[in-house]
Symmetry: C2
Subunit: 160 residues, 2 copies
């Protein structure tokens, strides 16, 4: 990924798109979030959702996977151009995670991140802290989920 | 689960315990959070963690599964005593999700919830809004993650 110094507040980037199929919704929920409106068509029809919906956690896990793939693809592209690649640290946590609209089987979600804050870490001065607002938007333009996360990003060393 | 009226601020309940095995850490991360310190022993040794660690998301997904199992077991026990069981609605979101300590392969985490707020929903007056602080604590007594969540719980109908 880019070095901390090369990341600006306001920057927005798309990280990928995913269509939630019924089988995948049920498989994820059976393992991690076994509530009837996520695992069973008939039960979902009788719920206030009216049809099968993805676990909110599933919509976040797909973000995580797309984010990791996006980072890897960006790093590969930078390396192939001969550019140095900054190390990305682990996440510190998340806040304001909101599930705003249901995600029904067949919905396609576009995921994007926006940089909302950057600052140097006091505890680890070789790193910056990057704060992103991440969103998923469905095919009708509705934001289905949103959260804010902060993670470490390597700073350029003083030599470079 | 219990009806909204039967839930009091300050109530604490254990929901279960889980030991994170190396194979499971790698399998989860390969699918959802493919960062080297979650998927590869050697890479993890060279990272600032010093050894394989579970994805923070994995530690939350295990909470979700234990929570669903706990709810189901409580509902079964209430039904077997002839008590009415309240409906639990979907979660609205999460806040202050913090990964405070790494979870290494072999660590055992005890999960618990504490009720920190209850109030009647303005939008859905037949429901209450239940706010929980959930934590995972490792075998050394360290809190490894913490978050706050709010979800709908059915109120007793006026007839009962």
């Amino acid at each position: 990924m880019k070095y901390f110094e090369d990341i600006a507040v306001g920057e927005r980037f798309a990280i990928g798109r995913h269509t939630f199929k019924a089988d995948e919704i049920k498989a994820f929920a059976s393992r991690f979030d076994p509530q009837p409106f996520h695992t069973d068509d008939k039960a979902a029809e009788g719920s206030h959702f009216g049809a099968l919906v993805a676990s909110g956690w599933h919509t976040v896990m797909v973000w995580m996977r797309l984010m990791a793939e996006h980072r890897r693809a960006s790093a590969d592209a930078m390396r192939s151009r001969g550019e140095p690649v900054a190390g990305a640290g682990p996440g510190l946590g998340f806040r304001e995670l909101k599930w705003l609209k249901p995600v029904y089987a067949g919905d396609t979600i576009d995921y994007a991140n926006e940089v909302i804050e950057t600052r140097v870490s006091r505890r680890r001065p070789r790193h910056g802290l990057l704060t992103l607002r991440s969103t998923g938007v469905n095919q009708n333009g509705d934001v289905i989920m949103s959260f804010v996360s902060t993670s470490f990003v390597e700073r350029r060393s003083e030599e470079t």
